[in-house]
C-alpha cells in the first residue's frame, strides 16, 4: 500500500494533541516544519515512509526535551502563571459555588464559623502572648553583644554585684570596680546602677509624692549608651555632665507637672529627696513594658547608695563570652579585691540581656522572671483548641459534603482533575476562615485589655495598632482554613466517579465513618487531657492555699518603719491602744522570695555547710505568727526570757543529729559558728558563734516551690533598728486596720511614705503565676469544651438527619426512645474509653513535669483522669441525646415519606 502523507500527518496531529507536549497554537506551524523535513529526507533519497518517520523524530524527538523543558531553562515561568492561566479563570465559579454552599447549609456553616473564629482568636492570642514573652529586651540596640553580669557566691547565683566594702564603698571604689571591668580585654563598655523598689518621698514643683523605682547611677553616659532610652527633653550629655542631676520618665513628668508638662518650664527645676537636691535635666520616654527592669526617675549621683549594683557589659564583636568571663575572674583582684579574696566567690556569670526574662534563676531579680513552662502550657493549650477547631471542621465538612457527591461527579465528568475538585473545598474553607477576620479582630480588641490585666502583660499597648497583626491574622486564617479542609478535599476529590453517582448521601457519610470516629476519638483525647490538666493544676493550687506553712498567715500586717527602737516603742504603744490589735512585733517579714544563705559549722567539727537562712524576729512576732518552738515559756513571757536566743529549725536539727550522731538533748546547747570564713582581725575570733537554745517547727518562709532548708531564727527582746513592724490583729476588716494603723503612723511624723502589706497577700503574690495559669487553664478548657460540644452537636444533628429513616423504621418496629438514645450514645462511650487510655498517660507526664517545679506537691491520683473522662462523657451524652431527642419527637411516617 502506498504511503499517504496526508493520512500520516493526520495521525501525527492527533497524537500530538493527546500527548500535550506542544501548546495548541503551535501545532500548525510544527506541521509545516514536519512537511519541510519530510521533503528534505525525500531529496536525500529516503523512501516516503522512513522519510516521514525520520522527520517526525527530528521535529519532536520522543525522548528529547519538549517545549516545557526548554521553557523552564530558557525562562522560568513566573509563580503566578498557573493562577493566571487556570485559577483566575475558574475562581469566580469556585466562589459562586462556595457562597451558595455556605448559604444552603447555613446552620452547619454558622457552627463552623463560630468554631473557626474561636480557634483563630485563641491561637492569635496565644501567639501574641508568646511573642511578647520572648521579646523582652529585644528593643535594646546591639542587644546581641550586651550582657548582664552576675556572680556565684556560696552555692547561690546573684544578680547584684557587691561593692568592695559593701555599703561603705566610697565613690572611687565603686568607680574603680567599673573601670576595672572596662579594662578587661573584650569588654567594650560597662555601666552600673541600682533601682530601689521602696517608695521614697520626692518633692518636685511644690508636690510631695511617694515615688517607687528610683534609679541611682554614677556611670550615666555609659548607662545611656548601653540602653539608649529615647529622650523627649534634654540629653544624656546634660545628665552626665554634672553631678546631682535627674531625669524623669514621661509618666513622672505628668505626675508632678500635670498633663501639659511639655508647656511647663520643667528643665532646671529642683527635685528633693529627704536627703539631697537634684536638678531636672531631661525627660525620657516611659520604659517599654517588655524591659527586664523599670525605673521612674534616674538620679546621677557620685555614689550608688546600696551594697552592690546591677552591672552591664557590652562585649566587642566576635569575642568569646566565656573567654571574657574567664578574664574578668582572672582580673577580679583589680576589680573587687574583696570578692577576689573570698573563698565563697564562685565566679562571674555573663547573662545575655535577652535571656534574663525567661532564663534567669538568680537572687534579687529586678522583675518577677517569666517561666518557660507557662509558655509551653499556653502554647499546648491553644494548639489543642486549634486542633479541636480544625478537626471539628474536618469532621463536619466530611459529613456535610457527602451530600455533594453528585456535584463532584459532574465536575469530574466535565474533565475536572482531582486537584481542581480539591481546590473547591480548600477555597470554601479558606473563604469561611477569612470571613472570621472581623470577628477575630473585634474579639482581640475586646479581649486584649482584659488579658493584659489578668496576665500582667502589655499586649494592648504593643500590638493592637501594629500593621503586622493583620498580616499574622490573615496568615493564620489561611493556614487554619487550609488545614481544616485538607482532608475533606483529598477524601472527596479522590472518590471514583461511579461511586459518586451510585452512593447516596447517607451511605457516603457512613463511608467516612472510621475517619470520623478517629477524629472524634482524637477530640476526646484532647478534651480529657485538657480537663485533667485543669483539674490537677487547680488541685495543686488549692493544696498550696491550704498547706500548713508552719505559721499563721492571716491577720498579720507589715508596716515599713526603718527607725530605731525608741521610735518603734512609741509606735508599738500607740498601736496597742487599738483594741483589735493583739500584739506588735518586729523582724524579718515572711512570704517573700529567696535571699542569700549563709555558711556555718558546728563548733569542734570541720565540715562547713552553706545552705542556711538567717532570720530574726522578736518574741512578740514569734507569738503573732504562732510559730511552734521548743521554748514556749520564753514566747509566752518575754519578760522572763533572755535578751536573745537562737533557735534552729527542725530540718537543721535533723541534719546535725544525723551528721554527727547526736541526740536532741545533746544538740541543744551546742555551739554553731556562722560564717566561719570570717576572722575578726582584732579579737581573732572566728565567725559568729552562738549556742543552740532550742528548735522550732519548719516554716515555709518562701513559696512551696522551695524546699525548706536549714534556718537560724534569732529571737530577741529589744530590737536595735526596726525595718518592718508586724502587727497582729483580730476582728477588723483589712481596710479598717490599715486606716487605724496609718493614722498612728502619720502621727509619728516620720517623713516617709506609708508602705504596708498583709502577710497573706505577700504569700498570694508568690503564686501569682500559678494563680494565673490555673484560671487561664479553666478559661481555655471551657473554650475547648465549648468548641468540641458545638462540633459534636452539629455532627449528631447532621447524622440524625441522615438517619431519620432508620430512626423512623426502628420506632415503627417498636424501639423505645431509650433504645434509640442508647444506640446513638453507645458509640461515643467506647470512643471515650479509648481516648481515656491515650489521654491519661500523656496528661500524667505533662502534669508531673509541671509539678516537679514544686518542692511540696500533690500526688496525682488516677481518679482525676476518670473524673475528666466522666465529665467529657456526661457533656457528650447530653449533647448527643439532645439532638437525637429532637428527631425522635417527629412522627416516624414523615421521615419515611422523605426522599433521601
Amino acid at each position: 500500500m502506498a504511503f499517504d502523507i496526508e493520512k500520516a500527518l493526520q495521525a501525527w496531529r492527533k497524537q500530538l494533541q493527546q500527548s500535550g507536549r506542544v501548546e495548541p497554537g503551535l501545532a500548525e506551524e510544527l506541521e509545516a516544519n514536519l512537511h519541510d523535513r519530510y521533503e528534505e529526507y525525500l531529496i536525500r533519497g529516503l523512501a516516503p515512509e522512513p522519510a516521514f518517520e525520520a522527520a517526525k523524530k527530528r521535529v519532536l524527538p520522543p525522548d528529547g526535551p519538549d517545549y516545557r523543558a526548554f521553557e523552564s531553562s530558557a525562562q522560568s515561568r513566573p509563580w503566578y502563571a498557573f493562577w493566571k492561566s487556570t485559577f483566575a479563570f475558574i475562581l469566580p465559579n469556585y466562589l459562586k459555588i462556595a457562597s451558595r454552599n455556605l448559604r444552603r447549609k447555613g446552620f452547619y456553616n454558622t457552627i463552623n464559623y463560630v468554631c473557626l473564629s474561636i480557634g483563630i482568636l485563641t491561637t492569635a492570642l496565644a501567639l501574641l502572648y508568646l511573642d511578647y514573652e520572648t521579646s523582652y529586651d529585644q528593643f535594646v540596640p546591639g542587644v546581641a553583644q550586651k550582657y548582664r553580669m552576675g556572680r556565684t557566691f556560696r552555692s547561690q547565683d546573684y544578680s547584684v554585684i557587691s561593692f568592695n566594702g559593701y555599703y561603705g564603698a566610697a565613690p572611687e571604689v565603686q568607680m574603680k570596680q567599673i573601670n576595672g571591668l572596662r579594662e578587661v580585654q573584650g569588654v567594650r563598655s560597662a555601666c552600673h546602677f541600682f533601682t530601689f523598689g521602696q517608695p521614697e518621698l520626692l518633692r518636685i514643683n511644690g508636690k510631695e509624692l511617694p515615688t517607687e523605682d528610683l534609679l541611682h547611677t554614677n556611670t550615666p553616659q555609659a548607662f545611656f549608651d548601653f540602653f539608649q532610652w529615647p529622650f523627649v527633653l534634654g540629653s544624656a550629655e546634660a545628665f552626665s555632665q554634672d553631678l546631682n542631676t535627674a531625669l524623669l520618665t514621661e509618666k513622672q513628668a505628668e505626675r508632678f507637672f500635670g498633663k501639659d508638662w511639655k508647656e511647663e518650664e520643667l528643665l532646671g527645676q529642683t527635685l528633693s529627696t529627704t536627703e539631697e537636691d537634684y536638678t531636672i535635666v531631661g525627660v525620657i520616654e516611659d520604659l517599654p513594658p517588655n524591659a527586664h527592669f523599670d525605673f521612674s526617675i534616674a538620679l546621677h549621683r557620685d555614689k550608688i547608695a546600696y551594697w552592690g549594683s546591677r552591672t552591664y557589659l557590652e562585649l566587642a564583636a566576635g569575642v568569646s563570652v566565656d573567654a571574657v568571663r574567664q578574664r574578668i575572674d582572672d582580673n577580679m583582684g583589680n576589680i573587687n579585691t574583696n570578692l577576689a579574696d573570698s573563698e565563697l566567690f564562685g565566679g562571674t556569670i555573663l547573662q545575655p540581656l535577652t535571656s534574663i526574662h525567661l532564663n534567669s534563676d538568680m537572687l534579687y531579680e529586678l522583675k518577677p522572671p517569666g517561666d518557660k513552662r507557662y509558655l509551653y502550657i499556653i502554647g499546648v493549650i491553644s494548639a489543642i483548641i486549634l486542633l479541636l477547631t480544625v478537626s471539628n471542621y474536618t469532621n463536619l465538612s466530611i459529613a456535610m459534603n457527602a451530600g455533594r457527591s453528585r456535584e463532584i461527579g459532574m465536575r469530574k465528568l466535565f474533565g475536572a482533575s482531582v486537584g481542581q475538585v480539591s481546590n473547591q473545598f480548600l477555597l470554601e474553607a479558606i473563604f469561611l476562615s477569612f470571613l472570621t477576620l472581623p470577628v477575630v479582630l473585634l474579639g482581640l480588641w475586646w479581649l486584649l485589655p482584659r488579658f493584659d490585666t489578668f496576665m500582667g502583660t502589655a499586649l494592648t499597648a504593643t500590638v493592637l495598632d501594629q500593621p503586622w497583626l493583620l498580616i499574622v491574622l490573615v496568615g493564620l486564617s489561611l493556614i487554619v482554613g487550609l488545614f481544616s479542609s485538607l482532608y475533606p478535599a483529598v477524601f472527596l476529590a479522590r472518590q471514583r466517579i461511579i461511586h459518586l453517582f451510585r452512593g447516596n448521601a447517607a451511605r457516603t457519610a457512613a463511608a467516612g465513618l472510621s475517619t470520623r470516629k478517629a477524629i472524634i476519638t482524637f477530640q476526646f483525647v484532647l478534651l480529657i487531657g485538657l480537663c485533667s490538666l485543669t483539674l490537677l493544676v487547680n488541685q495543686q493550687l488549692q493544696f498550696i492555699q491550704r498547706a500548713d506553712l508552719g505559721f499563721d498567715k492571716n491577720q498579720v500586717l507589715y508596716v515599713n518603719l526603718s527607725e530605731d527602737s525608741s521610735r518603734f516603742e512609741v509606735f508599738r504603744n500607740e498601736l496597742l491602744k487599738i483594741p483589735e490589735v493583739t500584739d506588735v512585733g518586729s523582724g524579718s517579714p515572711l512570704g517573700r522570695n529567696p535571699f542569700n544563705q549563709t555558711t556555718y559549722k558546728l563548733a569542734g567539727t570541720d565540715q562547713v555547710f552553706d545552705d542556711a537562712y538567717d532570720i530574726s524576729l522578736d518574741y512578740s512576732a514569734v507569738d503573732i505568727l504562732n510559730i511552734e518552738t521548743s521554748v514556749p515559756e520564753y514566747i509566752n513571757d518575754p519578760e522572763q526570757a533572755p535578751k536573745s536566743v537562737v533557735l534552729i529549725n527542725e530540718t537543721l536539727a535533723q541534719k546535725l543529729m544525723n551528721q554527727f550522731g547526736l541526740s536532741r538533748e545533746a544538740l541543744i546547747g551546742q555551739t554553731i559558728i556562722e560564717e566561719p570564713e570570717y576572722t575578726d582581725e582584732e579579737t581573732g575570733e572566728v565567725g559568729f558563734p552562738f549556742s543552740i537554745a532550742g528548735t522550732f517547727k519548719d516554716i515555709n518562709m518562701f513559696s512551696l516551690r522551695e524546699r525548706v532548708t536549714p534556718m537560724f531564727l534569732t529571737v530577741y527582746k529589744d530590737p536595735g533598728y526596726v525595718r518592718w513592724a508586724s502587727i497582729g490583729y483580730q476582728g477588723l476588716s483589712p481596710s479598717a486596720i490599715i486606716e487605724a494603723v496609718k493614722t498612728r503612723y502619720e502621727a509619728l511624723n516620720l517623713d516617709k511614705a506609708f508602705v504596708h502589706s498583709f502577710l497573706s497577700q505577700n504569700i498570694e503574690e508568690l503564686y501569682q503565676k500559678e494563680q494565673r495559669i490555673a484560671k487561664l487553664s479553666i478559661y481555655f478548657s471551657l473554650t475547648a469544651f465549648l468548641v468540641a460540644i458545638i462540633g459534636l452537636i452539629a455532627l449528631t444533628a447532621f447524622l440524625t438527619t441522615l438517619k431519620r429513616k432508620e430512626i423512623g423504621i426502628r420506632k415503627i418496629l417498636g424501639a423505645s426512645h431509650r433504645d434509640i438514645l442508647l444506640r446513638f450514645n453507645r458509640e461515643y462511650v467506647l470512643l471515650i474509653g479509648i481516648a481515656l487510655l491515650v489521654a491519661a498517660p500523656l496528661a500524667y507526664l505533662g502534669v508531673q513535669e509541671w509539678l516537679s517545679g514544686f518542692a511540696y506537691r500533690i500526688t496525682v491520683q488516677p481518679a482525676v483522669f476518670l473524673l475528666a473522662g466522666l465529665i467529657t462523657l456526661l457533656v457528650s451524652v447530653i449533647a448527643v441525646s439532645f439532638m437525637v431527642v429532637r428527631v425522635l419527637q417527629s412522627a416516624p411516617v414523615k421521615a419515611l415519606r422523605e426522599e433521601q
Binding site: E23, A32, N33, Y67, S73
Partner: protein, 115 residues
C-alpha cells in the same frame, strides 16, 4: 553540543540576527543555525516555536502566513524595530563577554595577568 543553558541564552539573539538579514521561516532558521554552527547547535523544532511565539508577543518579531507555490502554508517571521534595538543590545553584551574570554584565554594581543 552546546549546553542547555547556553542554548537557552543564545536562542533569541541568534534568531534576531538571522532575521536581521531578511524574513524567514522556522525550518529555515533551524537549518541556518545548524549550518553556521557546523552542527554544534542543533535546535529541535518544538523548542523554537514557543520562543518565536513569545518573541512575537514581546513585539520583537512579526509573522504572517504565506501560501507557497505547492499550496502549503508557511509562517514567515520578520524582525521589528524593537527587535533591532534588542539585537543591538544583545550584540553589545555578547561581544563584551566575548572580549573577556579572549583576554582570559590569552587569545588577544594584550593577554591577561592575574591581579
Amino acid at each position: 553540543m552546546a549546553t542547555k543553558v547556553l542554548v537557552a541564552a543564545s536562542t533569541k539573539p541568534l534568531v534576531l540576527s538571522i532575521l536581521s538579514y531578511g524574513e524567514n521561516y522556522g525550518y529555515k532558521i533551524i537549518k541556518e543555525v545548524e549550518r553556521l554552527s557546523e552542527g554544534e547547535l542543533e535546535w529541535t523544532d518544538a523548542m523554537l516555536y514557543p520562543v518565536l511565539s513569545r518573541m512575537e508577543k514581546e513585539g520583537l518579531v512579526q509573522s504572517q502566513w504565506v501560501k507557497t507555490e505547492s499550496g502549503r502554508r508557511r509562517k514567515y517571521y520578520r524582525i521589528t524595530a524593537a527587535g533591532k534595538e534588542r539585537l543591538e543590545e544583545e550584540r553589545r553584551q555578547w561581544l563584551n563577554v566575548n572580549q573577556v574570554f579572549i583576554k582570559l584565554w590569552g587569545m588577544g594581543t594584550e593577554g591577561y595577568t592575574p591581579a
